[in-house]
């Protein structure tokens, strides 16, 4: 029965849109909720205008146990019944649809703007705002706690550190945080709208700057979508070099985060070591492609740089010293009682909260939720070379630090294996025509978590809709929940332990 309601496709595959059954909304809602009940979760959930301008709602459900994705679609009118009350992990997706297209999810318990931009359909604004004026960021009703001794703390958009902007509103009783509301959108650059009608020549560089610290993961996801639409996977050697870029990206950020956590608890030796070591990993990426952030490394059809002229041996040799210093800096951090005392039990997220909110990546794994695209939806070299998914139990700052530490060890070993056994052959093939009227998706495990991209093409093979879901889109709610019941002075530590992207969320 259910096979008639959805199409199932693998990571990196495509399907003609016409093959996805068009359900009426009630059937769609029942089918999506039935998927949730059987253990699936949302990877992407978005509206797309049809060629005639009418809206359709698409659900992309990740089915970990089956290593595939179920696709559902339904026509969308001006209003639809919100599924958030039955399925909390849809809350932001439904808000996003309301903001982008001015359709109202009725019964949504928390219907507020996500990024504070005007509706894409002029004249249809979910909040009835002035179509002539740009919406003001943060202009919404914040959740408020009232009573004796309750006070509110507002932080941002401009923060004290060298970081991206966002607004945080704490409801506090004394030092204790009762609730944190996070209002973003300050980094919104209008990306998804720029992509309509693509692939454009500027698209590659826009993908690489969705979230600059996740350049390789986003660019790989984009490339795989295009390769899926063209029906030509990248050559094996290119896939191995992409995995190398991804693991170096993971190493740089995980090592940097251990250093940042160390700095936040006032343990300066590891903070100083890791701050430097992070740069060493970035420089390894620069040896590969000239850019510390992997710009230009991945291109649709393959990769832009090969490991020729003994570069693989040079990378391995450099890695020897960097690896020894990394492990030493981490060992010191986890062997210092005053550090552990500051991390343990702080900012806890329960496993059930993580599952309800649909957290992804290391934040989910730290709560004991097994979620890793390299393990469940592997493509390329990960099919054979990755079986070491790391999880932890308690979901606190310590667990998020320890997951990073163990993943550093796994990535180091994986990087060495990749460098020692690169497949021979070409590194890129020019892409052919993109399939018209098709939907392609790809999911890549970036260092924060899964990066999901979905493209829908029109009759001319160009993007009718391009949807990007950065892991931060799932995970910011997890940070808000982590703060409940903690002291406000623990916020920087909790925030670092998630280290989410503002621009990846804001797009």
């Amino acid at each position: 029965m259910r096979s008639k309601q959805s199409v199932r496709i693998a990571n990196g595959a495509q399907t003609p849109v016409a093959q996805i059954p068009r359900l009426d909304y009630d059937t769609f809602a029942d089918a999506v909720l039935a998927e949730f009940d059987s253990g699936s979760r949302v990877a992407a959930y978005f509206a797309a205008p049809e060629t005639d301008g009418r809206l359709e709602l698409y659900a992309v459900m990740a089915r970990e146990r089956h290593a595939n994705f179920a696709l559902f679609r339904t026509p969308l009118g001006e209003r639809f019944q919100s599924l958030t009350p039955n399925c909390p992990q849809l809350h932001l997706f439904e808000r996003e649809i309301a903001e982008q297209f001015g359709v109202i999810p009725e019964g949504h318990p928390w219907l507020k703007p996500v990024r504070f931009h005007a509706s894409w359909r002029t004249g249809h604004d979910a909040w009835g705002r002035d179509p002539e004026a740009h919406p003001r960021p943060g202009d919404m009703e914040f959740y408020q706690v009232e009573g004796d001794g309750i006070h509110e703390v507002a932080v941002g958009p401009v923060h004290a550190g060298v970081i991206e902007p966002g607004h945080f509103r704490f409801q506090c009783h004394g030092e204790q945080v009762l609730h944190l509301e996070i209002s973003l959108g300050y980094q919104h650059r209008g990306l998804e709208r720029l992509l309509v009608g693509g692939p454009h020549p500027a698209g590659d560089r826009q993908m690489e700057t969705i979230a600059g610290d996740t350049t390789v993961a986003h660019m790989t996801a984009y490339s795989k979508v295009l390769e899926g639409l063209a029906g030509q996977p990248a050559p094996p050697r290119a896939q191995a070099i992409r995995a190398l870029g991804l693991e170096l990206e993971r190493l740089a950020n995980h090592v940097g985060d251990i250093g940042a956590l160390s700095g936040d608890v006032g343990f300066l030796p590891t903070a100083a070591f890791c701050g430097r070591l992070r740069g060493d990993y970035l420089n390894l990426t620069a040896l590969l492609c000239g850019s510390r952030f992997g710009r230009g490394l991945v291109r649709p059809g393959g990769v832009g740089f090969d490991l020729d002229g003994g570069l693989d041996r040079q990378l391995l040799a450099t890695l020897d010293g960097v690896q020894a210093n990394t492990l030493g800096a981490c060992r010191l951090f986890f062997a210092t009682p005053s550090v552990l005392g500051r991390l343990e039990g702080v900012g806890r997220v329960s496993r059930s909260t993580a599952e309800d909110l649909g957290l992804v990546g290391l934040a989910a794994r730290a709560c004991g939720v097994p979620r890793d695209g390299r393990f469940f939806f592997p493509t390329g070299v990960y099919k054979e070379s990755f079986d070491e998914m790391i999880t932890d139990e308690l979901g606190d700052v310590f667990a998020r630090a320890r997951v990073r530490h163990r993943e550093i060890e796994v990535s180091l070993s994986l990087t060495r294996r990749l460098l020692a056994a690169l497949p021979d052959g070409e590194i890129a093939r020019p892409l052919g025509q993109l399939a018209p009227d098709s939907l392609a998706l790809s999911l890549v495990e970036g260092w924060r978590g899964e990066v999901a991209h979905v493209a829908i093409t029109g009759g001319d093979g160009r993007f009718r809709r391009y949807k990007i879901v950065d892991p931060s889109f799932h995970n910011w709610s997890g940070l808000a929940m982590a703060l409940r019941g903690t002291q406000i002075s623990d916020f920087p530590l909790c925030n670092k332990s998630f280290n989410l992207s503002y621009c990846g969320f804001d797009l």
């Binding site: 550190g161 060298v162 650059r189 979230a211 030796p269 100083a272 710009r295 832009g304 800096a329 210092t336």
Partner: protein, 253 residues
């Protein structure tokens, strides 16, 4: 404590010798782009081919705009390959117009501040960093200047937590519409005299998002900019070189 000392001895002294010793960058690093002498006069194909508008005619002659150039590895502008990237990481200039680079002409690198601001800031420059739509790459390469490899503090330069404590702003990102007001408010909150530094292609001219209705066309249309540091993102040494030049602490050339 003993473990800390032992680990510190094992890791060794790691602070770089810059600016006394030039940095060793990746052989694949893409620095200052130039039009090669073979670039035929009259051909302006790159003007329409660069998706970011980095090639244009200036007074009838072809020029490369370092402010818009994203230093793409697969530079799509010239199919004949007459644009190439030199390993020169020094790119910072004082005026927007100086970023237009014509064939066979050198780059007029940033000159020092006038004597009075140089007296004020030359030995102590506190900057407030504002990310206004930045992708966190420029931000990360500013942050890294504080690590012990670069050790920004030894030059008297420091990123501070409040604009009230700052001598200037270092801005990254294409200035998203949603950060416009906060950026101007942060500038207002900085006491005069103050500097403004635009770091990265986004801040200078919108970068990959140029043309989006959600971003500005360049920081210099909003604030008076004292230093432009091109790149996507600029290498940390490019930023550091620019800051030191501004303070008159780099030999010219």
């Amino acid at each position: 404590m003993l473990r800390v000392i032992a680990e510190r001895l094992r890791q060794g002294y790691q602070t770089g010798q810059f600016p006394l010793v030039e940095p060793q960058l990746s052989p694949r690093f893409r620095g200052l782009p130039e039009l090669t002498p073979e670039c035929p006069p009259g051909c302006a194909e790159c003007v329409s081919r660069c998706p970011f508008g980095a090639c244009d005619l200036q007074e009838g002659a072809l020029a490369l705009d370092l402010g818009r150039c994203l230093f793409c590895a697969d530079c799509p502008a010239c199919p004949q390959g007459f644009i190439h990237f030199t390993p020169d990481y020094r790119l910072a200039v004082r005026n927007r117009e100086l970023l237009w680079r014509q064939p066979a002409k050198g780059l007029n690198l940033a000159w020092p501040l006038a004597p009075e601001p140089r007296r004020l800031f030359g030995r102590s420059l506190k900057l407030r960093q504002v990310s206004a739509g930045g992708c966190n790459a420029c931000e990360a390469d500013c942050n890294v200047l504080g690590t012990l490899v670069f050790d920004l503090g030894r030059f008297g330069i420091q990123f501070v937590a409040s604009p009230r404590h700052a001598d200037g702003l270092l801005v990254t990102g294409p200035v998203s519409a949603n950060m416009h007001q906060a950026l101007l408010a942060t500038y207002e909150a900085t006491p005069a005299p103050k500097l403004v530094i635009a770091v990265g292609a986004c801040a200078i001219g919108g970068g990959p998002f140029r043309g989006s209705p959600e971003v500005a066309s360049g920081l210099d249309s909003l604030l008076p900019v004292d230093l432009f540091v091109p790149g996507c993102p600029p290498h940390p040494y490019t930023i550091l070189d620019g800051l030191l030049r501004l303070l008159g602490r780099r030999k010219t050339g």
